[in-house]
Amino acid sequence: MTTPTAERRASGGESRGEPRQMLLVVDVRTSISVVITLLAAFALFAVARAASAMITLVAIGVVLALALDGVVRHLTDRFEMPRPVAVVCVAIGLFVVATAVMLLLGPPAIDQARDLGSRLPETVREFYDLPLVGGWIEDADLATRVEGWIADLPSAVSTDTITSSAESLFGGAVAVLVVVATTFSVLLDGERLVAIARRALPARHRNQADRVGRVFYQVVGRYFGGSLTVAAMMGIYVLTIALVFGVPLAPLAAIWAMFTDLIPQIGGLLGGAFLAILALAAGPGTAIIVVVLFVLYMNLENHVIQPAVVGNAVNLSPPTTMLAALIGGAAAGVPGALVATPLVGAVKQLYVERRHPGTVAERTTHSLRDRLKHLLRRGK
């Protein structure tokens, strides 16, 4: 605690090398400031703890707004349209895409879920021919057990399960509405709020605040914008191969692969594992083909698509990325795992710029063609 006043008491006959003596006196205004600061900190902490679920949804909305801001800027720069109009265009575009996805994927998903019940026992019988495990599966009469389990399923669903499922569904719909409202509110109003916050700062701190804000915007916005694009591409790819090879619940597998693709390091494994399990229901041969195609695409994504789209927005080594995701996930669940990597990347970039001003290279992306050329050249 610093003091506004200090008395220096010189010891008699002070000579060079003798320690100085200082008397610190804390005044009342300082202590009042301390009390107010502590109260404000307690209040913030209490609000964050009590409203953590809503704050998480709001944070997701803000991050999505950062990711979509690039698209809005592109529209305003390219077509010289006012920002609100560009935001409305983005909103309409996303609404059309979401509706098309629901209309195209919803009915087939429901049909496949219904067919799964009749197809699953036959598929399990096909496993009887597998080497090593086939005999064990046949001895356990797994196909008959699966038939019995499917027949008993309707009676196993209780009224409480239905009620809680309905509540979850309603809660999920409200959460989506909250995220959408926050995203488009921040897209409309974000620039103005940043200007207000900037104006509230003392003039001597504004340049530094601008630098920090720019780094966070570039790292977080570019990372999430690029990651969402790459994840959407993964979803489309999984949907395509699943439909081509008759994998049941293809839309569900595609949506799962799309969401898990956002998780660094382990996302691909999670997405591929679920797809492989579903592909097994279509037959072991189909499962092998689908897994091989998935692994091939994963490599293409890691070495070509991701560097081209996301680039080195974050610039962290793989173990650092993985550790950040694991710590973020342990602290704040899936949202924590997703934001941990770009946050750590932003902090790193700020530190490097502070220690060595001007040495951080401009963040670049390589075009898809350049990445492919680089890969092929390396292979020779």
Binding site: A43, P84, A181, I196
Partner: protein, 349 residues
Amino acid sequence: MRAVDGDWSVAHIRISASSVVLVFASVIAAVVLKNVFVAAHRPIGWAVAAALLAALLLPAVNWLDRYLPRFLALLMTLLAFGLVFVGAWVGVRLNIGDELDRLKHDAPEAAGKLEAEHSWLADFELSRRVDDLIAEFDSSTSSSSSTAEVQRAAGAASSYFVSGIMTLFFMIFGPRIIGGGLAQLPASRRRRWEKLVAGAVADARAYASVMAAQAVVVGGVVGLVAFALELPAPLLLGLIAGVGSILPTIGVVIGAIPTLLFAAAFASSRGALLALVVVLALQAIEVAVVHPVVRRRSGDVGPALTVIVSLIAFELYGLGGAVYAFLALVLVMSLLRRLGIDEVAENDT
């Protein structure tokens, strides 16, 4: 201790006894105050809400004061506000009750028809499950649980009564309290701050009044459309649309989403299209006409802060908390806007 060579020097620092006491007292005071605030957060919330409501209603009191004794003007204003609030609440409750009764009557019949059309629903025993759900709902609202309902209602009534008394007190004593607070400032700054506070309160009042009027109009129009299309719970749909319209620029559409979804599910395609056109027209009027006028007169709160503050307040204190948090935000933004205009030159020099 001896001084060492190089850039470092040694200093003995002694903290005075009074400073140590003050530091400990500050920390203890902060902890005690924090515990007091946590324990008393509800009455403190009532006081804040009452102060905001008093600031909003005072112009109506001043207008009535021209024709009636002041105390009567105060009581009548508060009573009118209370009647509007209670009327809306009772109306919505009755509306929901009617719709639930209609659902309880129609659901078993609809379940039977669905079972006849889809065999997998018959396997799922849909009719029996719907009957079980209705029976469970009826038992949860039976006489044994109505005691808890009465206790909850009594608790809510006492909260509103205390808040009403506080609002009355703030309407009577509020200007004196604010004047007394401003009187603590040095004379050189008092005049400026009096102008700032008065201006910010006037701006916030104008903004909140326009938003309230807009909410009533939007809620009324959407409710009428829902009623015309025979959608379930039209009063509630109108209320949601009205509350949502408080959000600038996108609020009318956001608030009308439940209406549009219900129209898509229950009304004809022409009816759903009509609902969409009406909502978009209302939003266009808000963006093109209402919002620019409000912004010129009272500044712009913006949708982002409104959404974030209202959502967090809703999570903490429910719908009432969200509304009062919005009012507090409007007041704070009005004050900051007035401060920003005056102080931007100082900061930039």
